[in-house]
């Protein structure tokens, strides 16, 4: 319900947004104050040269507006996104910006109407060349972030005003839970105790000796049995059974909300990272999703993605419907 309301509000904001917005910079404020002062001085004294200076200052304001407007025309923006975004830490984010004709200067790109902080900058954009703009963005919250558009701002030419144009560009940024530390590894594993089980089918572990054979040309020399090698006159390798890792099933219980839910998600993310790094298999169970235990970085990515959606199931369904349509 909450997600629906915020989505409607975002759409309304998009509808009501003016095509260009203008903000006076700090330098611009000073400039305007000086212009006002010169104007007062000109009226007060009738000094023609002050009128000339005033005219020049006002003309520069107009020219500044025209040049900045020219900068924001003929642009097209594409969102390239990010590999992975974790809440509370900067992540690399990219947009691709192109200008059909003419040049643009001093562009700043940012996502509009989101809690994302940070922006990317382009000093000089040639016409007809796609320029990839990189930014280090940060967001405080986990979960799917609905993106409505990209804000392109320029302070060109004099830095007096920041003129902004928003490119409406729908999208979702999935923010993974904040990365933290796992306090302790769960003791209950689905399969075997640590170091107890082994399989004779795989002989690349550190378990019992399975046999001896000649060292291959590209094999690790640390496994060489030096005494046997000296006796036989060639390099002999010791083969040991591989110890199987343990399998864990982590879960996010239903009924958790707000801070408790966030804490649990962060804890599960940290645990899964730690266990997967150690080579174990990890599965995940959330109120709406179940991931079978597996190992490796792909599984970690799957777990993080599932954790990011926890609490935002409605939005996920909506998105799935949109994609299906």
């Amino acid at each position: 319900m909450k997600a629906k309301a915020s989505s409607s509000w975002a759409r309304l904001r998009v509808l009501l947004r003016p095509p260009r917005t203008l903000k006076v910079t700090r330098t611009g404020r000073t400039y305007l104050v000086v212009t006002f002062g010169v104007g007062l001085g000109a009226l007060n004294t009738g000094n023609n040269l002050l009128y000339l200076v005033l005219g020049l200052l006002l003309s520069m304001v107009v020219v500044s507006g025209v040049l900045s407007e020219r900068c924001l025309r003929h642009l097209s923006v594409r969102r390239l996104g990010t590999e992975s975004a974790f809440a509370g830490e900067p992540f690399a984010y990219r947009w691709a910006i192109t200008r059909k004709q003419g040049h643009a200067f001093a562009l700043t790109l940012a996502e509009v109407d989101t809690p994302l902080t940070g922006e990317g900058r382009v000093g000089y954009l040639r016409s007809g060349v796609e320029h990839v703009v990189r930014a280090d963005l940060t967001t405080p919250q986990r979960g799917p972030l609905r993106l409505s558009g990209v804000r392109v701002t320029t302070t060109w030419p004099l830095g007096l005003f920041a003129k902004t144009r928003v490119f409406e560009l729908e999208g979702i940024l999935l923010v993974y839970p904040r990365r933290g530390y796992a306090c302790h590894v769960p003791t209950e594993a689905l399969q075997g105790a640590f170091g107890d089980s082994s399989t004779p089918r795989r002989n690349d572990g550190t378990g019992d000796v399975a046999g001896l054979r000649e060292l291959g040309p590209t094999e690790d020399a640390r496994r060489v049995h030096w005494r046997k090698s000296a006796a036989m006159g060639k390099l002999i390798k010791v083969e040991r059974e591989r110890e199987e890792r343990r399998t864990y099933q982590l879960s996010v219980d239903a009924g958790l909300e707000d801070a408790a839910l966030e804490r649990r998600c962060e804890e599960v993310a940290a645990l899964s990272h730690q266990l997967l790094e150690a080579g174990h298999e990890v599965g995940l169970e959330t109120p709406t999703e179940r991931l079978r235990p597996a190992s490796g970085h792909v599984q970690e990515r799957n777990i993080l993605r599932a954790l990011a959606w926890v609490g935002f199931e409605e939005l996920r369904e909506e998105r799935q419907k949109e994609e299906a349509a």
Binding site: T45, G46, N48, L49, G159
Partner: protein
């Protein structure tokens, strides 16, 4: 700091320099502030940010300077606006020498803006406009580069050329907009805090209340035009050998001349003496370079009036006040003045009435006059009794026996004796003083007059330069009144500056005259005239309003339009033509060099094929050509563009090969053979 940043800082500092210059041209800033800023500017341009690590200590120094300026204002030595302008300059100088960062940049630019506004308040000079434009250009470029620099990732070059082009166009539009605003914005004037603008650098200090002997005479070389007069009837000569009198002096104390008589009440019109039928009418404009309030007119002025003072806030009528010595002054202060005067031809001043005291003063001698002066006069006159003949005799003798010089250093105790008996050289004031006092020692009434001598034709008017300032003697002749006798050698009476300098100054004065009439004196009435001209264009009485220009005008206009269009199309095509790839340019050069080496590719043979062929044939060119070809392929198709200067490096072995080929084979090596096939 990277090179582009240095460029930006240099532009910023030059902008501040231009802004400060716009104030300096007024000539009102204290010399020490000008010197301090100039030093700061030089240091800043050299990149010596000497205050970068001493922000607090130097801020105290700045406070001290502010205190000094404040004290100068308090004791009345300095105007408050001038002090504020000077302080803005000092702040700008301080910031320029501090650590360059966004904040200091902003402060320098802000101080620049304030200084330009200050310059507008202080001066009406044409040079102000030059400095204003320079400030706009430098400051805008600097700000534009700063904006782009902030967005360019570190290590990447700043696209200076790309930035400058649109900014320049923008600046042109801004200047046009400023002109439009200037013309169209109603010239309102609350007139609450108007202040007098200064005449600017190079202006004369004007005619002082006294003539003091002994100082160095540098005025003679000053070519600035101080006066423009339209004389009716027109004398019709190019060089006018006339005396323009400003005031006369009757009292000499041994060092300086003064006049008896106090000021009279101010009036719109002053009548000095009865006029005559042969009066010369003058419409005189005293330009700002004149820098004084004393009216000047041809000898012998009878009436002056209809005076208008030109101020920064417009023109207004001003009253005149008569002082002792026949001096007439403007009551109101102004940048320049215009007025009318009538004068009698010289030697028709018999009707001037003088009091007994004034007559007596014409024979007064200083208390400690060197007795040798009277003795010398007696010797030269040799019993001459007629005043005019005596004056002319003495004048001729002085011109013959004494030299003219402007090289006088410092004051001496008795300047007249020093001139007559020691140095035997001096300028016009020495000659005039000597003649006047020598006449008085012999009982002839005489007085000293100051003003200008000469007049140079300029269109229908006559102009006088600061260097035309002059002093001469009036001898009182019974039944004729005062007669002018000039003891200064004739060649040294008028301005003595270089002809080229006078030409340049004349050009500048013409431009400034247009500047003053079109900008400084632009008023609400002018605006209304412009508006009326737009609404109702002036009709030429000789032509019908429906008559069109002749056919040849249309033809010329059409031709001009076609030429402009053609030029534009040509330039547009040239400028918008796609530029060849850098690697392609490299191939062009390589192919040219191969042709020079006598290697011709076969039909359809690419550079790669050609290189392979040369390698197969063991051609000596294959060795230097192979790396070039390899790198070309990488650059053209492998997305590894050539770096700056890399093409030159790659081509060097090929060039060496060609040079070796061109060089004549040594005789000893006649039998040696090249491996080239």
């Amino acid at each position: 700091m990277s090179a582009p940043s240095r460029l930006r800082l240099a532009l910023r500092d030059l902008g501040a320099g231009a802004a400060f210059g716009s104030m300096v041209v007024s000539g009102q800033l204290p010399v020490w502030t000008v010197a301090a800023f100039a030093l700061s500017l030089v240091f800043a341009l050299l990149g010596w940010r000497v205050f970068a690590k001493r922000a607090k200590a130097t801020a105290v120094l700045l406070l001290g300077m502010a205190g000094l300026l404040g004290f100068s204002v308090y004791v009345g030595q300095l105007d408050l606006v001038v002090a504020a302008c000077s302080f803005a300059g000092l702040i700008a100088g301080h910031r320029m020498l501090s650590t360059p960062e966004a904040r200091t940049d902003g402060q320098v630019q802000l101080a620049g803006l304030l200084m330009v506004a200050g310059g507008a308040a202080l001066s009406g000079e044409l040079i102000f406009a030059v400095f204003l434009v320079a400030f706009c250009v430098f400051a805008s470029l600097s700000m534009g580069l700063a904006v782009v620099e902030a967005a360019v990732p570190e290590g990447e070059p700043l696209p200076v050329r790309s930035v400058v082009r649109p900014l320049s166009v923008g600046l042109l539009f801004a200047v046009s907009g400023a002109v439009a605003f200037f013309i169209l914005f109603p010239r309102l004037n609350w007139n609450v805090a108007a202040r007098r603008a200064s005449p600017g650098l190079g202006a004369t200090t004007g005619l002082s209340d006294t003539v003091r002997l002994g100082g160095a005479g540098t005025l003679k070389s000053n070519p600035r035009v101080v006066l423009r007069a339209h004389i009716t009837p027109d004398p019709g000569v190019d060089q006018l050998g006339s005396y323009w009198v400003a005031r006369t002096y009757d009292t000499f104390d041994g060092q300086e001349w003064t006049s008896v008589g106090g000021p009279k009440r101010s009036r719109q019109r002053v009548t000095l003496r009865p006029g005559g039928e042969s009066s010369l009418h003058q419409r005189i404009e005293l330009l700002p370079a004149y820098g004084a309030r004393t009216l000047v007119a041809l000898e012998t002025p009878t009436r002056m009036g209809n005076a208008v003072a030109h101020t920064a806030s417009g023109n207004r009528r001003t009253s005149l006040m008569e002082l002792g010595g026949g001096e007439v002054r403007f009551v109101d202060a102004g940048l320049g003045y215009s007025y009318e005067a009538t004068s009698l031809p010289p030697e028709e001043d018999a009707s001037t009435k003088m009091t007994e005291a004034e007559l007596g003063q014409l024979l007064a001698l200083p208390d400690r006059l060197d007795p040798r002066v009277a003795e010398l006069a007696r010797t030269v006159l040799d019993g001459e009794k007629e005043p005019l003949a005596a004056a002319r005799k003495l004048s001729s003798w002085l011109q013959r026996e004494y030299a003219y010089t402007l090289e006088l250093q410092g004051d001496v105790e008795d300047p007249l004796a020093d001139f007559l008996f020691v140095r035997k050289a001096g300028h016009c004031e020495h000659f005039a003083t000597a003649l006047t006092l020598m006449l008085r020692t012999q009982g002839f009434s005489a007085r000293l007059a100051s003003g200008f001598f000469g007049g140079e034709r300029s269109d229908e008017d006559y102009i006088l330069r600061a260097g035309d300032a002059h002093a001469w003697t009036h001898v009182l002749v019974p039944d004729r009144g005062f007669v002018t006798v000039d003891a200064t050698p004739p060649g040294n009476r008028a301005s003595q500056s270089m002809a080229a300098l006078q030409l340049l100054t004349g050009l500048y004065e013409t431009l400034e005259s247009h500047w003053r009439s079109a900008v400084v004196d632009f008023s609400l009435r002018d605006q209304m005239d412009v508006a009326q001209r737009f609404i109702r264009p002036p009709r030429d009485s000789g032509r019908s309003s429906t008559r069109l220009p002749p056919a040849r005008v249309w033809g010329v206009a059409l031709l001009a339009g076609l030429v402009t269009y053609g030029t534009w199309r040509f330039l547009a095509a040239r400028l918008s033509a796609p530029r060849p790839h850098t690697a392609t340019r490299l191939v062009d050069t390589v192919e040219r060099m191969l042709r020079e080496a006598g290697v011709r590719p076969h039909e359809g043979e690419t550079l790669e094929d050609l290189t392979a062929r040369l390698v197969r044939e063991h051609h000596s060119l294959a060795e230097p050509l192979a790396p070039v070809t390899r790198r070309y392929l990488e650059a053209r198709f492998g997305q590894r563009p050539l770096e700056a200067g890399e093409a030159e490096r790659l081509l060097t072995p090929l060039r060496r090969y060609l040079e070796a080929r061109r060089a004549p084979a040594p005789s000893s090596g006649a039998g040696s053979q090249r491996s080239a096939s």
